[in-house]
């Protein structure tokens, strides 16, 4: 458009005169800092036509040009003239360069421009040639991979969404996937993206048309830095050029372009070791756990189903359900595994369940032990354990789990119904008991046990010996009599012997002993006890007069002792005399 204008204006300039004014001659650069792979435009502009234009030395640049343009305009009768020399410079090396002065002669006078300082830096990413169709395409089409979380836990769901942004300036003819990303070390599932509609969205501050190409849910299966491979698309595009058709519209060129969404690196955190339960099988998410049984009471031979179910959001397909451990006397079949899972951007949700079919064979109560299920809760970032309640399966009717009960059942089929004790009964508690000490010492093998066991055997020879001795003694009649008398005397005098030395007590005891002896031996009462009477009685029993005399003397000394002092020696003598006399009387008395 402007080019056309320039041509028209130049034609006008040639047909009109020149209006003189203040002369201006200057140099304009498009940028003072540029990358080595970029281009620079420098314009030398003057407002009055001159001769002998002499450009500066562009020794550090490759030069394209000059292009010359002239403009002439009248506004309100005032003429404005402009003539421009344009050069395009491509730097050849890095550094700071000075573009020197250009000179021109106008009306016989030489004018010069001010030198310009240019800094050439390292290559910049995009050589920005705004007219290169590839560049235009790359500027107007973007393929972006959006990752929901770059620092997830192991087995935590993340999503990758591939979006294509197309600027309204370009048109997309076709595309096809050149390379589909493979998600190594991830469990992945694509979410259906059919029927996606083109939306208008703002990207980098500009309006774009956007289309979601692909949505994928990923569950990292390994810790550390994991790479998500890029999605590569081959696209056929139509890009506007700077040429126009006859109606002034831009002409479009066809461009084939391969675009890729950049590599993404995800840093996967391991699950914390601290507090990791022993029964953890890798479930990560938010779950509820339930164990249910179809029946709680049934008869043997019928079946029941036990269902172990985990519900919620998380890596439902990626862990094992806990096993039910059932009593050995139940017949259990392999569980039926069911999954009812839907996957959306939030990850998997739904439920997984194992259904066990159980057939009890025998009567009784069978507990289904509590089963626990552990998972890592992402919200609180802790491990959680859910436990089922313990259930009891009560088998009411059926055979008992032993052999003689079966024999009993066979007996029961007789015609007459005998009254039988039902042995298949759980016995009631016992109501009577005798408690014994819990910490009683064992008796067997103790010293006491051996003594008690062997002592009786020793008793046999001892008993036989004693018996033999007794027999010998029984045979000796005279000896027996003497022993008997001695025994009696000792018996009566024992009290006196104890108080030997104490005068009064001794004689009282001695007197008493003598009296007692007489009472026992000759049967006389204490009231009739006089010396005459005693001697008479003893004589009647044929006791020798000497002995009677001795006996009486003892009684006498007993009486005497109350009034006279006695020595220990006399007491001893009296005691011996008494014992001798008593035994003699005993022998002689009939």
């Amino acid at each position: 458009m402007t080019q056309l204008k320039h041509i028209l204006i130049t034609l006008l300039v040639f047909t009109t005169g020149i209006v003189s004014g203040q002369v201006e001659f200057k140099a304009n650069v498009s940028k003072t800092t540029l990358g080595i792979n970029e281009r620079l435009r420098i314009e030398f502009e003057m407002n009055k036509d001159g001769d002998n234009f002499n450009p500066p030395d562009f020794s550090d640049f490759n030069v394209i040009g000059p292009q010359q343009s002239v403009s002439n305009s009248w506004i309100n009768g005032v003429r404005t003239f402009k003539k421009t020399y344009t050069y395009f410079l491509t730097p050849t090396k890095r550094g700071t360069f000075t573009i020197g002065q250009a000179s021109i002669t106008i009306d016989g006078q030489v004018y010069k421009t001010i030198p310009q300082k240019i800094t050439v830096t390292a290559a910049v990413d995009k050589p920005s040639d705004p007219n290169d169709p590839n560049y235009v395409a790359s500027e107007n089409i973007h393929l972006v991979a959006e990752v929901s979380k770059t620092n997830p836990y192991l087995n935590e769901a993340i999503t990758v969404v591939y979006k294509l942004y197309v600027s309204p300036r370009v048109q997309v003819d076709t595309w096809n996937e050149k390379d589909s990303p493979r998600y190594n070390d991830f469990w992945s599932q694509n979410i259906d993206t059919q029927n996606q509609r083109v939306q208008t969205e703002t990207y980098n501050g500009e309006t774009y048309r956007s289309l979601i190409l692909r949505k994928t849910v990923l569950y990292p299966q390994k810790t550390g830095k994991l790479n998500i491979e890029p999605l590569v698309l081959d696209m056929a595009l139509r890009v506007p050029t700077n040429r126009r058709d006859i109606f002034g519209n831009y002409l479009l060129t066809r461009v084939n372009r391969t675009i890729a969404a950049g590599n993404k690196t995800i840093d996967v955190k391991p699950l914390p070791e601290k507090g990791k339960p022993a029964d953890f099988t890798g479930a990560v998410g938010d779950y509820s756990f339930d164990v249910s049984s179809t029946k709680n009471t049934l008869n043997a031979g019928e079946s029941l189903q036990i269902k172990v179910e985990v519900k919620g959001n998380g890596n439902l397909k990626l862990f094992k359900l806990p096993k039910v451990s059932l009593p050995s006397s139940l017949e259990v079949y392999e569980p039926e595994h069911k999954e009812n899972i839907s996957t959306n951007l939030g990850g998997m949700s739904g439920n997984v369940s194992d259904t066990y079919t159980v057939v009890p064979q025998y009567k009784g109560k069978y507990p289904i032990p509590s089963i626990s299920f552990s998972y890592f809760d992402l919200k609180s970032q802790t491990y959680k354990r859910l436990s089922s309640d313990e259930m009891v399966v009560d088998v009411k009717e059926g055979p008992l789990n032993n052999a003689d009960a079966q024999a009993q059942n066979a007996l029961n089929s007789g015609a007459k119904q005998p009254v039988m004790l039902n042995k298949d009964q759980f016995a009631f508690i016992k109501t009577k008991t005798n408690f014994v000490s819990n910490d009683a010492e064992p008796f067997f093998n103790t010293r006491l046990f051996w003594i008690l066991l062997l002592l009786p055997f020793i008793a046999i020879p001892i008993a036989i010996l004693i018996r033999r001795n007794k027999a010998i003694r029984d045979a000796d009649v005279r000896g027996n009599k003497i022993r008997k008398a001695d025994k009696l005397a000792k018996k009566y005098l024992s009290a006196a012997k104890k108080s030997l030395g104490k005068k009064e007590a001794f004689y009282i005891a001695l007197e008493k002993a003598v009296h007692n002896y007489l009472k026992a031996r000759i049967h006389i009462e204490t009231s009739e006890l006089s010396k005459d009477k005693i001697s008479e009685l003893l004589r009647e029993r044929q006791v020798e007069p000497d002995v009677i005399k001795d006996f009486l003397s003892i009684i006498e000394s007993c009486d005497l002792a109350r009034y006279t002092p006695m020595t220990v020696v006399t007491m001893q003598e009296d005691y011996e005399k008494a014992s001798k006399t008593i035994s003699l009387i005993d022998k002689q008395a009939r």
Partner: protein, 253 residues
């Protein structure tokens, strides 16, 4: 002397009071059991055990209450305890079979047959100590009868006492050998019950070693050796391994 008698009588009366107290507790617990309050009944039964008194009936009732509450390991443990005191009780054996139905592990046991069964059943009639008392009494009877035989002159009396003394010495010998038999059996018998819900039996007495097999609550096993916190066990089908002491409870102290 009087003081001594006094203390003896006091001690005796205290003992009698405690005995009465325990019997009262036992009856209360039985009432609670009959009303279905098994947990309370268990508490009462256990207080009797805390008084260091026991009986096979106490263990039996305690096991029954635990069975009603579906506590597998405790019920089997107390049935076994009851059987130790009364090895031939039908009710205990019957209910123990019920409790064993609840266990998870199936372990084959080798049944006893023939002479060894007869010997086993005979010696199982009484405990070691009872056999020991019987042998002592029998020896004393024998000595008395023998002496009577030796000293008496009547033919009839001599004959009967001679025969009776022979019987007595026979009883003494049998009971003494039974006591020895049971004593050696018990010396090598260290049964235990698995109390943990599930216990891993290792091939060596440490955590690192490989798992040999798993046992579940209520399984009876024999402890053959103990090292630190680990016990070497033998199952009735001959399998051996090491188990953590926390997971089992010995039936004998």
């Amino acid at each position: 002397m009087k003081k001594f008698l006094f203390y003896i009588s006091i001690l005796f009366s205290v003992h009698m009071m405690a005995q009465d107290n325990n019997t009262a507790l036992f009856n209360e617990a039985n009432d609670l059991y009959n009303k279905g309050k098994y947990a309370e009944a268990i508490d009462k039964y256990r207080t009797i055990l805390d008084h260091n008194m026991h009986s096979s009936e106490l263990y039996f009732n305690l096991a029954n209450a635990n069975y009603k509450l579906n506590n597998i390991a405790p019920s089997i443990y107390y049935y076994e305890k009851a059987l130790q005191l009364d090895p031939d009780d039908k009710d205990i054996k019957n209910n123990l079979a019920f409790a064993r139905n609840m266990t998870i592990d199936a372990i084959d046991s080798i049944p006893e047959v023939g002479l060894s069964k007869v010997v086993h059943n005979t010696t199982n009639l009484y405990t070691t100590d009872t056999w020991a008392y019987i042998s002592v009494v029998a020896v004393i009877c024998f000595v008395i009868l023998f002496l009577i035989y030796h000293f008496s002159y009547e033919t009839l009396r001599k004959r009967t006492t001679f025969i009776l003394s022979l019987v007595a010495i026979g009883v003494a010998v049998i009971s003494l050998s039974s006591a020895f038999y049971r004593h050696t059996l018990e010396k090598n018998n260290h049964p235990a019950i698995v109390f943990a819900k599930e216990s891993k039996v290792k091939s060596e007495p440490n955590v690192r070693s490989e798992e040999s097999f798993r046992l579940h609550e209520g399984t009876k096993l024999q402890v053959t050796d103990t090292i630190g916190n680990w016990s070497e066990i033998k199952l009735s089908d001959g399998k051996t391994g090491w188990i953590s002491n926390q997971d089992i409870r010995m039936l004998k102290r």
